[in-house]
């Protein structure tokens, strides 16, 4: 990317509603042309960030920049961003055509230009024949598409999507995820997608910001965030996790569940108390002799492509295992995993320190 300047930048942005702090010193930088996701539970502040970018809300303090220009107080209609609202917010008094034509008409395009724009956008979202339909004649999925077409018809530099897929059923949601990704790649503009669905975030994004309590907990590629969660919250929120307490004896040696294990993490103080994460899919069932841990099977459910197994070790820790072969409840089995499957999280490590440490110790 030649243009190094971020398209959107937040510097120390604070926002409170009354006595509730919604955003706490948010710093972020978005590059043009990427698919970003703000991921977090409800109330984490992710939609608030979107509203600050679109101009629906004003920050209490801090800077919001668009291509380097401060836009803190620029009214929404003057920003080169558009929003796909959670419940679509289509104008019920207008048909599909007029909804999509709303922005282009305001820009003062000629009748033919408006028509062309609307037709292009409607065919982009595969609703070319729906131009004359009324909004209340459309299904939820179709309304969703109209909302996307309407937002894109304004040629935004950045498209903001506020949990747009949450009202759709599973199958439709999967299709729309694919389609949104395709549209984003095709148009090459920046998408900022807000969701509480970690699977959705992992599937669609170039870059994810994980948020909780008005703070960005971690940001990175989906792989980074999944493989190297920075803290308990991220590990727990993204995917399934087994998290146990441990002690980092020295670099590349961690102690947990009464044993020492070789691992690939380093850079902590000797004997530092840490949390250890092992993903359920990284654990395999084996014989007791071959097992690094010995557990008793407590529960098992069939999930189609794997068995979801819950087991307990002799220290009383619960272990989630995703196994391809089934087990018997009550049976004692061994659990095995590789050194690189062990991920260590320090308590209260900042994202900067975390990144710096990883950089130093990664081969």
């Amino acid at each position: 990317m030649e243009n190094k300047e971020p398209i959107i930048e937040f510097q120390q942005v604070d926002l409170s509603f009354g006595s509730t702090k919604v955003l706490n010193k948010i710093d972020l930088a978005l590059d043009a042309g990427k698919f970003y996701t703000l991921l977090g539970p409800s109330g984490s502040g992710k939609s608030t960030i979107l509203k600050l970018i679109s101009g629906q809300l004003q920050a209490d303090s801090g800077e919001i920049l668009f291509e380097g220009q401060r836009i803190n107080h620029l009214p929404a209609e003057k920003r080169r961003v558009n929003t796909v609202f959670q419940n679509y917010a289509l104008f019920p008094n207008m048909n599909v055509f007029d909804n999509v034509a709303f922005g282009p008409k305001l820009k003062g395009l000629s009748k033919d230009e408006v028509r062309l724009k609307v037709e292009t956008m409607l065919s982009l979202v595969k609703l070319a024949d729906f131009s004359n339909r009324e909004i209340n004649e459309l299904s939820g999925g179709q309304q969703q598409r109209v909302a996307i077409a309407r937002a894109l018809a304004n040629d935004p530099e950045v498209l903001l999507l506020d949990e747009p897929l949450s009202a759709l059923d599973y199958k439709l949601r999967k299709d729309m995820q694919q389609e949104l990704r395709t549209i984003q790649k095709r148009l090459g503009i920046t998408f900022v997608f807000v969701t509480h669905d970690q699977e959705e975030a992992l599937a669609m994004s170039d870059w994810i910001f994980v948020m909780n309590d008005g703070v960005i907990q971690q940001n990175g590629t989906p792989e980074d965030i999944y493989d190297e969660p920075i803290n308990h919250f991220v590990a727990d929120f993204i995917g399934e996790s087994n998290i146990v307490k441990g002690i980092m004896k020295s670099d590349y040696l961690v102690h947990f569940v009464g044993k020492d294990f070789i691992n690939v993490d380093a850079g902590m103080r000797p004997e530092e108390r840490v949390e250890v994460v092992i993903r359920p899919e990284d654990l395999d069932l084996t014989t007791i002799e071959n097992g690094k841990l010995v557990v008793t099977i407590e529960d098992q459910s069939f999930r189609g492509d794997f068995y979801e197994i819950t087991a307990q070790d002799d220290d009383g820790n619960q272990w989630q295992v995703q196994a391809t072969n089934s087990a018997t409840i009550g049976e004692r089995v061994g659990l095995t995993f590789d050194p690189e499957d062990i991920h260590i999280m320090r308590f209260n490590e900042s994202e900067n320190d975390f990144d710096a440490r990883l950089e130093r110790y990664e081969e």
Partner: protein, 269 residues
């Protein structure tokens, strides 16, 4: 199941018969009587004489025109004040409280309010006193077209604000945000999104104001000083003064037709 159904239809029967009887006695019968009266001449025979008089004599046509014209102006003035008022109230934090303040005056007797205005607008009233102290002199405010229109609008404003306010409250605020997001400023949002979506309220407001305004007679008498003579005044005169019930009924029927036309013009699609 069958028992239930019978019981249900019994309830329905009681309800409909009571309602039907009410409708018959207090709505249909009076209307029929009115129509009948209007078709009876002074000699007691059926005739269209009354209607002929109404439509041929210039006086009544002028009166009819006056009624419609003043009702139109009152409605327009009321709408002009009420829409922004409803819009602002809807954007306030304690909107129900402000709305209550608007509605409160409707609890006061109409005649009392009208008399209050006589006091306010009189030569010795507060408005003239203020004008006097500002060196603007004393003016005749009562018994003019404008005092009539202002007082009538004052009386009608709550009936216009209420339906407009209700339709504005029903509009999802996110639509306003969406409009701004798509590049519309406040004014364009009001014009393209809010106004069209609040039209049902505007229409009911117009109905609620225009129709009663057609037949105002108390305000025309007390504030307009009978300088403004509308059909309402004429009906009152014929029933109470000249005792010509037949002709009073004729004007009544014409007014009802005018009202029906108004309803048809402002009805929901």
């Amino acid at each position: 199941m069958l028992v239930n159904k019978n019981k249900f239809s019994f309830t329905r029967l009681t309800f409909y018969s009571t309602y039907g009887l009410w409708l018959l006695l207090f709505v249909i019968a009076p209307l029929m009587l009115l129509l009948w009266q209007s078709l009876v001449g002074s000699d007691g025979h059926l005739t269209l004489q009354n209607y002929q008089t109404f439509f041929v004599s210039g006086t009544y046509l002028t009166m009819a025109f006056n009624s419609v014209w003043y009702a139109f102006i009152i409605t327009a003035v009321t709408l002009l004040i009420s829409y922004p008022a409803a819009y602002i109230i809807n954007s306030l934090k304690y909107k129900q409280f402000w709305l209550l303040l608007i509605i409160l005056p409707t609890w006061i007797n109409l005649l009392l309010k009208t008399y209050a205005f006589i006091g306010i607008l009189a030569k010795t009233g507060p408005i003239n006193q203020l004008a006097e102290s500002l060196g603007l002199g004393t003016h005749q405010l009562l018994f003019s077209d404008w005092s009539f229109i202002i007082v009538a609008a004052y009386i009608e404003i709550p009936f216009m604000i209420l339906p407009i306010f209700n339709s504005l409250t029903d509009i999802d605020p996110v639509l306003e945000q969406a409009s701004r997001d798509l590049g519309a400023n406040r004014w364009q949002t009001l014009k393209n999104v809010i106004w069209p979506l609040s039209l049902p309220g505007v229409k009911s407001g117009i109905q609620a104001v225009f129709i009663p305004s057609l037949s105002l007679f108390m305000v025309t008498r007390l504030i307009g000083g009978n300088r403004v003579i509308t059909l309402g005044t004429a009906i009152e005169q014929h029933f109470l003064v000249t005792q010509n019930w037949q002709f009073g009924s004729t004007i009544g029927v014409v007014l009802i037709i005018a009202m029906v036309i108004t309803m048809l013009l402002t009805r929901e699609k």
